[in-house]
Symmetry: C2
Subunit: 243 residues, 2 copies
DNA sequence: TCAAAAGTGTTCGATATACACCCATGC
DNA sequence: GCATGGGTGTATATCGAACACTTTTGA
């Protein structure tokens, strides 16, 4: 059957390909969105640091969702991270740069000249300790405004994911709490919205809207060790949000 | 190189697969959304009529977008139909029904036991003459409320596409004119919104909103041959919409 | 006492919702 | 003349946008 498959595949012009997942994992720090990039443990490097989106080929008995969860688990140790499939990238040209082709051959011990990828969006509290698994030389947060040139179409994937995150937040506002620490101030939350929507929000209007969100509850706690008036801390109440 | 690829592929657990596109093409008639289904010219039939979503495997030098355009062109004769990639379906179980596996083998002259698909949403004026290309025995519009059981996960794909069309219309209201005839009445347009959002709209409020859309322009023409007061006809003015 | 950020209300315009009757036409 | 769907206006509630000063705290 293997032989038959391959013979037939050679006769017909349909594509047979490997399929990967790539994850755009956002974190929020210093009033900016950051993307988690990794560097593979391989002599070959694409850009000067060899940074790229974390991803993996899909295993034979796996869905793309499962593969994305696996990639996220390896990085964060979290088993069911919030994640969203947002687009597949299928251009034959996405694997055309000779460096990329060479890198794939080393990384996967296989000649691969067509590779489609299913891109996922995910969100992560940026202070979380990340696993420095041996597979990667480095794992680092990179501000979206300072992304390096990455292999394949990873720059395009990130660009499209930035539009996607806006519509995600619009359809489910609760996802932003995946990006905030457990205790957060109104200003942090506002800056996060500003980073996502790329525009300034009015302070008073934002505070007013906060009070209408009954699932954002004030704690009996304020900021400490700040050189100015300490801000009220809030937390997200999931039960109230769902109820 | 071929041999090397295949040897390596046999050693590693990564999936190698064919990739298809499937198109959910909506049409609007009788106040209902309809989906265009086709029946392959093959002795094997999945449901009693063998109806399924139109689709195709992707060729070697083709993107998924190009493959979807090709499928749409074959059916409608339109070269650049409005279309939107909305989700990839990748479960290994989506090709597990023995009937589906057998059908694939006949249809593509190949044993295929894993097949992922990139699903597209498209919109079509329902009165348009369709090409009855020889590849298909039948091509027919089917109301979304009366879909047959279809092969693979095509029922699930249609179900998810119905949610997708709502967010598409929300983000770009002009797409609804792809579903309406060139000349349409306010009532037709309202019924289309009602079919998409699955709820009744107030007649007066809808008319009021219509007048605020300066890109929907009244014609010097009314309905004819109706057994009641003839309704005003409108057309969509693309230039005003973009300008 | 100063610097730095926190916090607080009102007004206005736009938009969504609710609601009931007369009009034109073909039969 | 009647059945059928076409067409119209007003009042209210809700939401987003604009806008400036006082408060608290640590240095």
């Amino acid at each position: 059957m293997e032989a038959q498959t391959q013979t037939a595949a050679a006769m017909i012009p349909f594509m047979q390909t490997f399929v990967s997942v790539d994850c755009v994992i956002f974190g929020f720090e210093q009033n900016q969105l950051n993307v988690l990039l990794v560097q593979r443990n391989t002599p070959l490097q694409i850009n000067e640091k060899g940074l790229k989106l974390p991803g993996s080929l899909i295993y034979q008995e796996e869905t793309a969702d499962e593969a994305a969860h696996r990639v996220l688990f390896e990085l964060t140790g979290i088993n069911k991270m919030t994640l969203k499939q947002f687009k597949s990238f299928t251009s034959p040209q996405r694997v055309s740069n000779p460096e990329d082709v060479a890198w794939l051959e080393v990384a996967y011990n296989n000649k691969i000249n067509r590779l489609i990828t299913v891109a996922y969006l995910s969100l992560c509290k940026i202070n979380r300790k990340l696993n420095l698994i041996s597979k990667y030389k480095t794992v680092e947060w990179c501000p979206v405004s300072k992304l390096p040139a990455m292999p394949f179409d990873h720059n395009q994937i990130v660009a499209e994911s930035l539009e996607e995150i806006r519509s995600w937040v619009k359809s489910d506002p609760a996802v932003i709490f995946e990006l905030l620490p457990n205790k957060f101030t109104a200003t942090e939350m506002r800056h996060l919205f500003e980073a996502i929507y790329q525009k300034k929000l009015d302070v008073r209007n934002f505070q007013k809207k906060l009070t209408t969100m009954d699932y954002v509850v004030p704690l009996d706690e304020k900021q400490t060790a700040v050189p100015h008036r300490a801000a009220q801390l809030y937390k997200f109440d999931k039960k109230r949000y769902n109820g």
